[in-house]
């Protein structure tokens, strides 16, 4: 177990190293930071002095080493626009994004398991055909269309739900204020969460359905029937457990990917998260903020994958963690 953990952490660190290298290379190629810092009026000599002072004339590797050293200490540079540490800017926006992802995840888990299981058990029912039909549509319609369509229907026409912003939030701790403690907060997060979930949900329903159908064909399910076990137990204990094992791995990766998908959703709904912030940063060529965003998203991705792998090892009795570490 311990060896496996160490191995996983090493892998995670290696991935983070590569992400940081790519991010730094991007920063290096995105225009001259001096122009952003001092403007046009400063003379060429002062510029050169500043350049030396900032270490911009050092070799690439030296600069990267410095960048990495700072990054490890949590210093990802200072945002040109906000005049604040980039990491601080992101951390202020992070909770809004994570809550949006959490909302979408709740919708996905809450709907995909029952719908996937149902369509696998009763593949020929009208209900199943309907679900599968809608899921195809869901996969093929882009997120921003779903989002705009929902805003039109629920906000403009029916006036049931707000179309932008987070609404009333409650401060929890640090930069974290939450949508989940007020009715207004729930109303605001509903549409964006559904929009964000709209791509992944159909994929998950189909994934669970096909895994479940395969499992239901297995010899051990037939054996369970031969023992006189009730169908309910066969579906939800014998089959579902085996179905969810492969789904966990795929699912974890997808939830990590969803963080990146938030850029679109947040922009359409004016959601004050880091996806929205990233798009603004790109418009303002706020390089440190862009780089910091890439690193933070990469970090979230690596962390979710590592956690998912560990969970998989824990719930699957045929995976011996100690052996995997060897």
């Amino acid at each position: 177990m311990f060896a496996y953990l160490v191995k996983r952490l090493f892998q995670a660190a290696a991935v983070m190293f590569v992400i940081s290298l790519i991010s730094f290379a991007i920063q290096d190629n995105l225009g001259d930071p001096l122009r952003e810092l001092v403007g046009q009026s400063v003379s060429e000599e002062t510029r050169d002095e500043l350049r030396d002072e900032l270490g911009l004339n050092d070799p690439f590797l030296v600069q990267y080493g410095r960048f990495l050293g700072n990054a490890v200490r949590g210093d990802l540079g200072t945002s040109y626009f906000f005049k604040e540490p980039a990491l601080t800017v992101i951390l202020k926006k992070l909770p809004a994004t994570l809550e949006l992802v959490a909302g979408a995840t709740i919708i996905i888990i809450g709907l995909s398991i029952p719908l996937g299981v149902y369509t696998a058990i009763k593949p020929n029912s009208i209900m199943s055909r309907l679900i599968m039909g809608i899921s195809i549509v869901g996969i093929s319609v882009p997120v921003f269309l779903t989002a705009i369509g929902m805003i039109f229907l629920f906000s403009v026409e029916l006036r049931w739900l707000p179309s932008f912003g987070r609404g009333d939030t409650v401060d929890v701790i640090g930069y974290w204020s939450t949508n989940f403690l007020t009715l207004d907060g729930w109303q605001h997060i509903l549409l964006p969460s559904v929009a964000l979930a709209s791509i992944m949900l159909p994929l998950f329903i189909r994934l669970i359905r096909s895994e479940m159908m395969e499992t239901l064909q297995s010899e051990y399910v037939r054996y369970a029937y031969a023992k006189g076990i009730a169908p309910r137990r066969i579906w939800f204990v014998h089959a579902l457990k085996n179905t969810l094992l492969p789904v966990i791995t795929v699912g974890g990766v997808q939830i990590g990917t969803m963080v990146a998908y938030t850029i679109l959703t947040e922009t359409v709904f004016q959601w004050p998260g880091m996806g929205f912030m990233f798009l603004e940063a790109v418009n303002r060529v706020d390089t440190p903020l862009i780089v910091a965003y890439l690193i933070v998203v990469g970090f979230i991705f690596v962390v979710t994958n590592t956690i998912v792998d560990l969970i998989y090892g824990l719930v699957n009795p045929t995976v011996k963690l100690s052996r995997m570490g060897a």
């Binding site: 064909q217 297995s218 010899e219 051990y220 037939r222 054996y223 369970a224 029937y225 031969a226 023992k227 006189g228 076990i229 009730a230 137990r233 204990v237 014998h238 457990k241 085996n242 094992l245 699957n316 009795p317 045929t318």
Partner: protein, 328 residues
């Protein structure tokens, strides 16, 4: 009254374009405590027969007609709850491959306890006590520790012993064993068979043993059914079928046994192969492979003839028998 009475059982598969017949008017009886063997080549319909008795055919298979009377009740007419009450409780089944029969994510204990609790009101600890006792009966070492183990932690032979223990959990009247040792190492096949025989005898359980190994049948069973292309072509006391088979197909099977062939000689296999269900020939299904086949064999399906203790479905055997009777 016999424990099990199968009459004119017809099983079909609804394929995309047509319907094929997998079992064609199968009839046989099984007395209480009796052990019978069902033998035949691959694809003959042995497993289908076994699954039909539990009414557990997987799609697209279905029972088309006929009856399966178990202890006075017709299984083909039962509702799902009635069937569930019989499965695993009064009729237990042992599957072919122990490596894929047990659920990989449930412990041995869970899979034993759930079986008991599906049929009896028992607390978990009471059920575990019964499970441990049954594991001991099949000579599993340290049975208490097995309950917490997962299938992958055990060898194939060990798993098949556990499956036999599960079959015995509720003291069934009938055990159907579908090639219980073919997936196992040769060295332990005989052990498992011996164990199964011993347990059936001591618990007075009837046994239907499905196999293509006539040697096993002769050790384990009192009566034998020889199946070919979905029909019983010869049935009777095992000893007579082994020593003096009447049907050319049974004779072919016996002659193909390694014991029948002197060392160094090639095994005498029956030429050709069993037909696919969609291409069963007219008349006697065996006729293309039979060296005695006549025009009658190619046109009409042979009726069952009784010859002493044997029932044989063969035109030639019947003709011989009738001329002998006339001669007497």
């Amino acid at each position: 009254m016999s424990l099990l009475s199968v009459r004119d059982l017809v099983v079909k598969f609804a394929m995309r374009n047509n319907t094929v017949t997998a079992l064609n008017k199968i009839s046989f009886d099984l007395a209480r405590g009796e052990r019978i063997g069902i033998v035949g080549e691959s694809g003959a319909g042995k497993s289908i027969t076994g699954f039909s008795i539990l009414n557990l055919l997987s799609k697209p298979g279905y029972i088309d007609s006929g009856s399966i009377t178990f202890d006075g009740e017709d299984i083909t007419q039962m509702t799902d709850p009635q069937l569930r009450d019989i499965r695993g409780n009064r009729i237990a089944m042992i599957f072919q491959d122990p490596m894929v029969t047990l659920n990989p994510v449930l412990t041995i204990g869970q899979q034993m306890v759930e079986t008991l609790q599906a049929h009896r009101r028992l607390s978990k600890s009471d059920a575990e006590q019964i499970a441990i006792a049954k594991l001991r009966e099949v000579y599993i070492p340290a049975p208490e520790e097995r309950l917490a183990q997962y299938p992958h932690e055990l060898s194939g032979g060990m798993r098949q012993r556990i499956i036999i223990a599960i079959a015995l959990l509720l003291d069934p009247q009938l055990i159907i064993a579908d090639e219980p040792t073919t997936a196992l190492d040769v060295t332990i096949q005989a052990d498992i068979m011996e164990l199964l025989l011993e347990l059936c005898q001591s618990n007075k359980v009837s046994l239907i043993l499905i196999t293509h190994d006539l040697g096993v049948v002769s050790q384990m069973t009192e009566r034998t059914l020889v199946v070919y292309a979905g029909r019983i072509i010869e049935a009777g006391p095992t000893r007579e079928i082994i020593n003096d088979p009447q049907h050319p197909y049974s004779q072919g099977l016996i002659n193909a046994l390694p014991q029948q062939t002197p060392r160094g000689e090639k095994l005498k296999q029956i030429p050709g192969a069993m037909p696919a269900l969609s291409a069963v020939p007219d008349g006697c299904a065996f006729n293309p492979r039979c060296s005695f086949a006549t025009d009658t064999c190619r046109k009409t399906v042979p009726e069952v003839t009784r010859i002493d203790h044997l029932e044989v479905a063969c035109h030639e055997v019947r003709r011989h028998h009738e001329t002998e009777e006339v001669a007497e």
